[in-house]
């Protein structure tokens, strides 16, 4: 049974003066309208939310009630920064299993209700608290910064190349009214910004953003019955890695991404990603994450990610436009929302509804890549028209 995405919605990302349920409803109401369905047509609701930074610690039922889905679930899922993808997968698999005909995945996060030091301490727990944060104060940027120093030492990747990923992200976000940042920046702005955790500076890091996104999925049967015009989910890949960073094989890439990509590519019979996708959304919570993603997803060889961005291969007109809506880096990274917002971007691009950020379609296929923690979880979705 094929599963298609029949409706998508996304809130404005940023510091938002609304509650988590009000924020979720912005995305949900857009998705319902987009699919031209009502709450009564939905069989199951899945709420993806990490939920440790907002005042509402168990938000699924609160979100579900406000969105009009009382009685339709909810299932709440959590996979750190890959929570949104886990939510989409949960809706997808319930349809695959024949339990639901139409299901909604809601990804939502309120990140700005606590102060920055508290947020950093919570993010640092997205690994293994007892053996790492407790002793050594490993923050989320610190984990990626350690990958950056390893990558720079082994492959000669430079801080300037990292900065170029941020410049590209901001350039795209400036044309996306829903993005947190609406301003272009220069390489010098990045290099001169405040040090967060060496070698990552302020503009190497995604901001702390509130946001929500929603995707409505339907079975092939429901598509035929209701006459929906879907973007099909052609393949899904997932994997994970150890919670302890000290148990990893190396620090120059994310094995979970490679495993998830391998599974997704196999499912869609993809041998050369550069000849298969018109657009990719990759997990760029930090600039080094985007560079490692190019390599781990097979867009270039290991160690050549820095050159890939430097040569404009991930920009419009390059080998594969990446993060056309501004990425996590500049659009924002509300944890629960991110994976769903990647599906939103893929669907908008494949329907040719991306306005000034539209890519040219040749393959009519898109890839989404969502990482939880620092490669603790990884998800790859392949969508096609």
């Amino acid at each position: 049974m094929k599963v298609g995405v029949i409706g998508v919605g996304c809130s404005k990302f940023g510091t938002r003066d609304v509650t988590i349920q009000e924020l979720a409803f912005e995305a949900v109401s857009e998705a319902l309208k987009d699919a031209d369905v009502g709450q009564e047509d939905i069989d199951l609701s899945v709420v993806g939310c990490v939920g440790t930074r907002g005042y509402e610690l168990m938000p699924a039922v609160v979100v579900n009630e406000y969105c009009g889905f009382t009685g339709k679930g909810p299932i709440r899922v959590e996979a750190a920064c890959a929570t949104g993808s886990a939510a989409v997968y949960s809706a997808y698999s319930s349809i695959k299993a024949g339990i639901a005909d139409i299901a909604i995945a809601i990804g939502v996060e309120k990140m700005t209700e606590v102060d920055t030091a508290t947020s950093a301490a919570i993010g640092g727990r997205a690994g293994n608290y007892l053996w790492e944060f407790h002793f050594y104060g490993t923050t989320f940027p610190a984990y990626y910064a350690m990958h950056a120093t390893a990558h720079m030492a082994k492959y000669g990747t430079t801080e300037r190349q990292l900065a170029l990923a941020a410049v590209k992200a901001h350039r795209n976000a400036a044309k996306n009214p829903k993005a947190h940042f609406q301003k272009e920046i220069t390489v010098e702005d990045v290099l001169n910004s405040r040090m967060i955790t060496y070698p990552l500076k302020l503009y190497d890091c995604s901001p702390i953003s509130d946001g929500a996104s929603a995707a409505i999925l339907a079975s092939e049967k429901a598509v035929k019955e209701h006459g929906f015009d879907p973007i099909w989910i052609e393949s899904v890949g997932y994997s994970s890695d150890t919670s302890n960073m000290t148990m990893r094989e190396n620090y120059v890439g994310l094995k979970a991404t490679r495993m998830a990509a391998e599974m997704a590519y196999k499912g869609a019979k993809i041998t050369d990603p550069l000849k298969s996708f018109d657009i990719a959304t990759v997990h760029d919570c930090f600039t080094i994450a985007e560079i490692m993603a190019y390599e781990d997803l097979g867009f270039c060889k290991k160690g050549e990610g820095g050159k890939f961005v430097e040569n404009g291969e991930s920009d419009f007109g390059g080998k594969i436009p990446v993060n056309t809506f501004g990425g996590l880096k500049a659009k924002g990274h509300p944890l629960g929302a991110t994976g769903v917002a990647m599906v939103y971007e893929a669907v908008k691009q494949l329907r040719e509804e991306a306005g000034s950020l539209q890519v040219d379609l040749k393959h009519y296929r898109a890839l989404t890549h969502n990482v939880g923690g620092t490669g603790h979880f990884a998800w790859v979705f392949i969508l096609g028209r």
């Binding site: 104060g137 060496y198 000290t246």
Partner: protein
Amino acid sequence: MIIESRELKMKHKIPVGKTERFWKGLEEGKVFKTFCKCGKSYYPPRADCVCGNTTEWAEVSGEGVVECFTVVHSIPAGYEWSKPYRIVIASFGDVRIMGWSDEELKVGDKVTLYTAKDGSGVWKVWFRRL
């Protein structure tokens, strides 16, 4: 308009009885890993091997190599007492160890480990250049 929530303070009691040897070891200047007769080694140490056997304890010592590092300038809650700190992961044979260092260590540097209290009184692993 913004209102404030009721205050919620959280501090957890962590049971470390199964790895007590490690925690006591730190205070004696020793860092322990565990290993199993099935061939697996564990750091951080764990009492249960995934194969189902109970593991045995062994000290980690000698020469390590720095695999990666960072210096944290944006200090998280719980570390307000600290100046910017350097986190290092170094490989010691079949395990990798995380620790802090006061020295400007770089990837590939050869190091040795020791234990000491940090500024908040917590015993932990530190590295120095060999």
